[in-house]
Symmetry: C2
Subunit: 125 residues, 2 copies
């Protein structure tokens, strides 16, 4: 059962179920296209900051506005807004305006998947 799924898996822990997925193809390539390398680096760099990690984690269940995040992380609204822009530019969060508030939420599931995988690495040994 598990073996069956593993056929298309990149590794034992993280399974990719989408059968005709580009990822599997790209991972088989000998060299990565420069653009892919650059984009990947940008993605990881974006997740490579404690403030942004906290923001993403805070958004894991519910959407929050800038001032919610500002209070939660005990940082200025300006600092939070700057970081949200970085997250937005890298498609890690999306937003929704309501009155004078702007509500942010995670853009897709990949973010928390990466989080989980990262934790696997960090928590081991």
């Amino acid at each position: 059962m598990v073996a069956e799924l593993k056929e298309k898996a990149i590794c034992d822990i993280c399974e990719v179920f989408n059968p005709d997925n580009q990822v599997v193809e790209v991972m088989k390539e000998k060299e990565l296209a420069d653009e892919v390398v650059y984009d990947l680096a940008e993605l990881f760099k974006t997740m490579g900051d404690p403030t942004r990690i906290k923001i993403l984690y805070a958004l894991k269940e519910r959407e929050l506005c800038v001032c919610d995040l500002s209070e939660l992380l005990e940082m200025s609204a300006s600092a939070i807004s700057h970081q949200l822009r970085v997250l937005r530019n890298n498609k890690l969060v999306k937003y929704r305006k309501e009155g004078r508030s702007v509500y942010y939420s995670l853009d897709d599931d990949h973010v928390m998947c990466l989080f989980g995988q990262g934790l696997e690495h960090v928590l081991e040994d």
Copy 2:
């Protein structure tokens, strides 16, 4: 069958099979411990550089020595060595000495898992 596995999953795409895994527990927490936040950020920051992405990807199947990597990426051995140190410090690669060469390889599966998840995000839309 898949549903059965999904019970313990963090998200639809990336499955965590280890049943008594710390990750699942940590992800349920409201707040992340500062140390975990910092370590996660360090991990992602480490993967957030094109040169290091290329090194990791080059090591995905076979171990390589510094001068192999140096030729492959067309960079000085010094630059490669500096980056390998960063990767070593963050436990993303391990090494093995043989004569005057030092062979580097990926430290564990998580690295390529993160890669796969990262690609999922980068390649979509």
